[in-house]
């Protein structure tokens, strides 16, 4: 198990993640992947600790992944979702968090449809000197750190299974295609992939990819980010292509004329992949709109698609994150 000291209490955003932290996550995740390949897939790392999954926004996949990760670490798990909640009865987000604090939660995994909620809860938990750690499981259009970290783990593991590390991605060209504006996954990946030294090429229509994205990074990382309103220059010689889910409501907001036109211009097809490196791989945070952002046949092609590896990586990476913040207590 990685021995590097971990001091971060909350994982809210990758904007201020350090290289050392990325490396620690990758190494720790690699250890847990090994655990997951054993016959007994459970370790007592978080025995006695309570992990509360507070999912204000419905999510089956991410919640299941976190739940399994916590179970594999022998933590006790509390699940909260809005369908069963009293939020409609006038309870504030902080009231909900405080309820779980009172039940003894050590870690709260928070998903919310609006940006900033995990931050707000983390501030309140710190103000109360509760010692509780907050793990952002996706907030609005802001950040989805565990997704970007599992993407990082998937990519670096592909390049060196035994020793996934940042430098493996140095100089690699990665295209992120689609609705960047509304994507928390893209925002987190922009930080992690540029920190790894990859060249990150964003592509999408101007309505979903404002030029302002070029200004969100500082320093050296800024020079590793590119923006394209056509897909071809982004895909040219790319080593990896990440596509994002297109929400159908973008049509009604007059951001796009139609799904058909979107697929024509920004959908990933076998044909347009010919522009990429021959060994190109595709990532998608799921769930996929088949035939919109990604041709249906590509998704099921194991030579091209890393989608199922992403899901598998997800459990190991989330175990790593829970373990790191849980055992630093």
């Amino acid at each position: 198990m990685a021995t590097t000291t971990w001091t971060r209490r909350h994982i809210l955003s990758l904007a201020d993640f350090t290289v050392a932290e990325y490396e620690t996550v990758l190494q720790t995740a690699a250890s847990f992947r090994e655990v997951l390949s054993r016959r007994t897939k459970k370790v007592p790392a978080l025995q006695g600790q309570v992990v509360a999954n507070l999912f204000f926004e419905p999510s089956t996949r991410t919640r299941s992944s976190f739940e399994l990760a916590a179970k594999r670490l022998s933590a006790d798990i509390l699940n909260f979702s809005t369908g069963t909640s009293s939020l409609t009865k006038g309870e504030t987000i902080l009231d909900t968090a405080k309820t779980y604090l009172a039940m003894g939660a050590d870690i709260m995994v928070i998903r919310h449809q609006h940006s900033g909620v995990p931050q707000a809860i983390a501030l309140e938990m710190d103000r109360l000197e509760s010692g509780v750690s907050i793990l952002n499981a996706g907030d609005g259009q802001h950040q989805h750190p565990s997704q970007a970290l599992l993407d990082l783990f998937t990519l670096t593991s592909l390049l060196d299974t035994d020793n996934p590390r940042l430098e493996l991605l140095s100089g690699k060209k990665i295209a992120i295609v689609g609705d960047i504006l509304h994507s928390r996954v893209a925002r987190s990946n922009i930080y992690s992939l540029t920190a790894a030294g990859a060249q990150v090429h964003l592509a999408g229509p101007p309505t979903l990819l404002p030029k302002l994205f070029l200004e969100i990074l500082d320093g050296e990382q800024k020079d590793k980010l590119y923006l394209h309103w056509e897909i071809e220059p982004a895909l040219k010689d790319a080593h990896f292509v990440m596509t994002l889910r297109l929400q159908k409501e973008r049509m009604s907001a007059n951001l796009l004329p139609s799904l058909r036109e979107y697929h024509q211009r920004y959908g990933i097809t076998r044909e347009c992949l010919e522009l990429c490196q021959p060994e190109v791989k595709i990532l998608h945070p799921g769930p996929v709109n088949r035939g919109v952002e990604l041709s249906s046949d590509l998704m099921d092609d194991p030579r091209l698609s890393l989608i199922s590896q992403q899901v598998t990586s997800g459990v190991a990476v989330r175990m790593a994150l829970l373990y790191l913040i849980g055992s630093s207590k």
């Binding site: 904007a15 504030t92 940006s115 900033g116 909620v117 707000a120 925002r187 404002p210 302002l212 200004e215």
Partner: protein, 430 residues
Amino acid sequence: MNSESNESTLLQQVRVINPIAGADRIADVLISEGKIKAVDFNIAEFSQDTTIINGQGLVLGPGLVDLYSHSGEPGYEYRETFSTFITAAAAGGFTRIGILPDTDPPLDNLGTLLSLHQQKQKLSKTIKQLPHLEFWGAITMEIEGKRMAQLAELAPVIVGFADGYPIKNLSLLRQVLEYLKPLGKPVALAVSNCELKGNGVVREGVASIRYGLSGNPGFSETVALSAVLEIVDAIGIPVHIMRVSTSRGVELIANAKQRGVPVTASTTWMHLLFNTNDLSNYDPNLRLEPPLGNENDMLALIEGVKQGMIDAIAVDHTPYTYEEKTQAFAEASPGVIGLELALPLLWQRFVASGEWSAVKLWQALSTRPQLCLGQQPTSCLPGHKAELTLFDPQKTWIVEKSNLESKSANTPWWGKEITGRAVQIWTDRD
């Protein structure tokens, strides 16, 4: 502090700000029978029962004037009652205050307005230093922007006309401005194009992208502002533009003024103190309408006030309960309280830092708001009615329940220590 009008108070060696004359000097000030009796370097003659206040380190100026704020009552007493609102205004150094009509029922009818006037009379019997309360009458029924309120009927009991919300229907706006011509009352308009604003909750820019918050483009303000300025230019009736929040907005207003369009403008104190870079913590107390500007907007507004393109700083006090404000940033109701905080925080930021003179700040908070309302500015010269604010720029205090008169707590300064506090107001009410 007791200061009934038959009593005398002598303020010794107080820093007197005279924004009309542009003067700022140390003097003794004698206040008696509701009037300023004397302002002199050394006042030796005063009656024996005079209360003497050592004014060293204190600042005295004409009473502060808030162009527009939300009272809570009627309808939202759980946020603020009439009584807590008035005591908060007095505690913050305001002697005149304009109340916006978006109450429940709204101030779009004579009956509600008259009952508020009655309530005001009642309060004046229990609260000694009662600020002058002035009501903005609604321009449109129910503040819906659909049809005119009974404008002429409301005119005698209000300070001016304002909905406090943008009027989308420009044809209606045009007719309102035409119709109001003979009534001679100020008109204040909020400018924002709702379609362009969309579901934006922060000013569009790098911060909105970085923090993943839906952006409201600056041109949602300036498109609407341009339209209003064109109409005002054509009709020729004086109009006040509320809550200017963009750098381009300042430019448009400056240009219009230069062309002789009869327009005045205000921004809010919050837009001068914060910008989108301050949103990293997603404090719902920084969710405002219009939203905080980007840094360049804030700087242009500061310069705008300094140069006079923006005439006045409004408080736009907007109380909300804990439940209404403790939400995700995007879902929190927009607005903050400010009556007790605006003067000290503006003073700290602009006067204590040396960026503005004390006279400049006092003008933007007293003289110029009155000019926007078409009123004769309050004077602090001998012989005039005593309508004054005494301020202690050094006093430190913590923003918490026990120190605030306001019923609500929605401010980013909650729990923090700030420097400067209004000490007392004098209002000579008829």
